[in-house]
Structure formats: C-alpha cells, structure tokens
Amino acid sequence: MRDLLTVSRLDAFYGDFQALFDVSLRIGDGEVVAIVGSNGAGKSTLLKSIAGQIATRRDAISFDGEAIGGERANLLLKRGISLVPEGRRLFPSLSVEENLQIGGEHGRKGPWTLARVYDLFPVLAERRNQRSTSLSGGQQQMVAIGRALMSNPRLLLCDEISLGLAPIIVREIYARLPQITGDGMSLVIVEQDIVQALAASGRVYCLQEGRVTLEGDSQSVSREMLAAAYFGV
C-alpha cells in the first residue's frame, strides 16, 4: 500500500511543554488506522500537528510525497486533510445546513455533497434549519463529521468522536464509517474506546506520554501487548 501520510520524528510543543517525542508513523492510501492511548498521551496533539493547528518542523510530516509540516490548516484542507476536532467545535451562529455548507466551500471537489451527507445521516436533513447547538450530542457529532466530509478529504482525522456520547449513538456513528471510507478515503480514528477503535481499523498505534509504544495489526494485537503499551506496565 502506498503511503499517503508519513510522520517522521515529530516533536510537538505547547509553549515550553513537550507533548510529542520523536513520533513516527505512516498512513496508507485508503487505510483505516486507529490511534489509542490514555488521557494526555498526545493523541490530539498528533492530529492537530497533522492538520496544521500546531507548528511543526516542515519535514516532520509529509502528505502525498510533499513536506507539509507547519503549513496553515486552511491550506492543508485544500490538499485534502480534514480534521473532525475534539469536542466537535460547530459554529453556533450557523444552522446545521450552513455548518455543512461552509465545510464544502473551500475544499476539494468530489463525491461528498449536501445530499450525500443527508443520505448518510438522515436525521440531519430533518434538522437542517435548526441551530447546530440545539441538536443532541450525537447529532452534533454527525454535523461535525459531515462538515469535514463536505471538503472531500483524502485523509479524514477523527478526534474522539465517541466522547460524551451514549454507547448506542457511538455504535450508530461507527456503523456509518464503511460508507465513508468506501471511496478510498484514508481515515485516522483517535479513540479512548479501544474495542470500538480496533474493530473499525486495520492497524493501530498506541501512544503513551508522547511516544509511540506499539504499532500493530488491529485484529492480531493481543490485549496483553496493548495493556503494556497503554499503561507502560
């Protein structure tokens, strides 16, 4: 499988605090990769670095063969990297439909349109004119995913999409992922819910205290290995 994204020896900082140490990983074209780890392991920092929200060394991240580290998020979106941010971060002044529309206005052309997002999440079509903040948490998460899809990304980064949602809603959202990756889109899922993440992905990375402690095949990785990588015991 050809690599779409490679991260090599990435260090990332919040001010003086170093959140990532020498992280290297690769995401293949059309691959679904899970990144797991406990709170504060650096998962979100990693996604933010890839999506251009945290400054990095230029050559630490490359996408489709080009060095893109530290490029602005709005330019990375045009290249095809889209992040579903932790906590959803919808625009409260915009209606559901406007949130989706703005997602599609500056991205790439492709199969994802308003109609197709509504097809994927029919409940959003019923609530298209409501304020995004009036929706339930699960529905807001659907808007956040839809908004990211509208830019027709080649690489979709999902940060903790199950956070704060009821298990039945989480299962419902995860059940739609195959429809999203069906066109060959690469997907990175950052999760605390390990079972869900392993079931949905082909490969898995585990982060602990800013370092990669495990890389493996999602189906063959053992609970013991994962626990060791997760907790460092």
């Binding site: 941010p85 971060r89 002044s93 529309q101 703005i102 206005e105 908004r147």
Partner: protein, 288 residues
C-alpha cells in the same frame, strides 16, 4: 408641528449615525476589534470625496463609485498588514494602534488640507424639499441619506445571513481557530470585513460632507455617535443599529429644539439612560 418637524429631521439624521455605527458594529462583530480611528476614517473619506469631486468634476454621490472601492482596498490592506498583527488574546494592542492611527490621520489631514472647514456641493438636491403639509416638509437630501442607510443595512443583513461570505464572517466570529479547519483563512476574512467597513464608512463620509461643514478634527465625535448608536441598538444587531441611530438623532433634535446648546448633550443623555436602564441595548444579538 414644529416639534414634529424636529423629530422627523432627527429620524433622518439617525440614518447617518446608523451608517457610522454599521461599519463599527461589523468589525467588532467579526473580530472583536474596536476601531478608535473609525471617525477619522469617515472624515478621511470626506476629504477623498473632496479631492475626487474637484479633480474629476463629479458630483459627491457619483464620486462614491471611486471612493468606496478605494476605501475598501485601503481597509483590506490596513487590516492585513497592520491590524491583524495586533489581534490576540489581549484587547489593548488594537485599541492603542487604532488610537495612534486616529492621531496620524487627523494630523495628516491637517497637514494636507489645513484646518479650514470644507463642504461638498451636491447642487440643487441640497435645498430640494418634499412638502407633506403646508407646515411640514422633508428635505430630499436627508431623505435620500436615510433611505441609503436603510438600504445599506438591509444589504449588509442579506450579506451576513444569505451568502457564503456571510457564513465565513459569522463562523470566523464564532471560532477563528476552527474556521481554518474548513479552509477559511481568518486573516483574509478580517481583511474583507475591514474593507467592507471602510466602504460603508465612505458612504457615511460623503453624506456627512454634503450635509455640513467638515474639518480634520471632527472624527472623534463621529466615533462617539457611532458607538452610542451601536450600544443603544444592541451590539451585533444591524437593524438595532439603525434604531440606535434614530434614537440618537431624535434625542439630539429634541435637545436642540429646547435649547440649541443642548443638542449634543441630549444625545449623550439618551445614551446614558439606555446604558443605565437597558445596558444590552434595545435589540441585543439573539444568543443560541
């Protein structure tokens, strides 16, 4: 009938104040920037109109075809190369920089145009009136000024709530970090907002210059009128801004009717009363 006449004039002047206020409210809404140089930019637009009308022999209103785009470009440049650098978590730098800008503009105008007061001549329209009753008539120019203000606010409202630009403005106002994740360059959006604000300012400047004499020192007072109209109307509501302008205009007219010296005082008093009784303004922005 005299009173009715005064109030009517006050309403029409309110249109001008609403124009001052709309530009101010727009940039505060999009980027939380309080532009202290706002009034001086209004006066600068008036002087630009003076130069254009004299050099090209155009009427003041026609000169807007040149001045509005020119001011919009100046606004975009000002935002991208200067004001964007001042924006951050701290509210003080943009205040200080626009205050400095205000001083520079005032003194620049003084240097170039001298302290003499000027006026733009609009021709016969200035004295034309529409009689309503034998005792009451409306000046055509104030009426045009008011209608332009209403049209401009209607257009801004439509831009904000019906177009892709408006979505980008509102989304940037909500969350300038996340908006970059949907491909919007917040620095560019800020530039567009300032450009739009200065285009609105240029219309206000031309009407100001046709209505009365102007000189380089009168900017800060226009800033105050704009502020007061914004606060009276309610922050972040464009139609409220129009109402705020009208309230201010009417209060000034009534004050002037009681005693000519009370004109400005009455406006400030109306503002103070609103601030004390209803600090969120008449039509605050609806929060989600």
């Amino acid at each position: 009938m005299d009173w009715l006449n005064s109030i009517l004039q006050g309403v029409l002047v309110g249109g001008l104040y609403a124009m001052f206020a709309a530009g101010l409210s727009l940039i505060f809404g999009v980027m939380r920037l309080v532009n202290i140089a706002h009034g001086d930019l209004v006066v600068m637009a008036a002087y630009l109109a003076l130069v254009v009308t004299q050099a090209l022999g155009m009427g003041p209103l026609a000169s807007l075809l040149i001045i509005a785009p020119l001011m919009a470009v100046i606004g975009y440049g000002l935002q991208r190369w200067l004001l964007n650098r001042t924006l951050g978590d701290d509210l003080l730098p943009p205040l200080l920089v626009t205050f400095g800008l205000s001083v520079i503009i005032q003194n620049g105008l003084l240097e170039i145009f001298s302290p003499d007061s000027r006026k733009l001549q609009a021709g016969a329209i200035e004295t034309a009136t529409i009689p309503i009753t034998p005792d009451l008539s409306i000046g055509v120019l104030p009426l045009v000024q008011f209608l332009v203000a209403v049209a401009m606010i209607g257009a801004l409202q439509a831009l904000f709530y019906r177009t892709a630009w408006g979505r980008a403005f509102r989304a940037t106002s909500d969350d300038q970090s996340t908006v970059q994740l949907v491909g919007v360059d917040n620095r560019h959006v800020f530039g567009l907002a300032m450009g739009l604000s200065l285009a609105v300012i240029s219309v206000a400047g031309v009407f100001l210059a046709v209505r009365s004499n102007f000189d380089p020192s009168m900017g800060p007072a226009r800033l105050i009128f704009g502020f007061e109209a914004v606060i009276i109307g309610g922050l972040g509501n464009l139609w409220g801004t129009l109402a705020g302008g009208v309230v201010l205009g009417v209060a000034q007219a009534i004050g002037a009717k009681i005693d000519p010296g009370w004109q400005l005082l009455a406006g400030h008093l109306a503002f103070l009363i609103v601030l004390a009784v209803r600090p969120e303004g008449f039509f605050p922005k609806v929060q989600a």
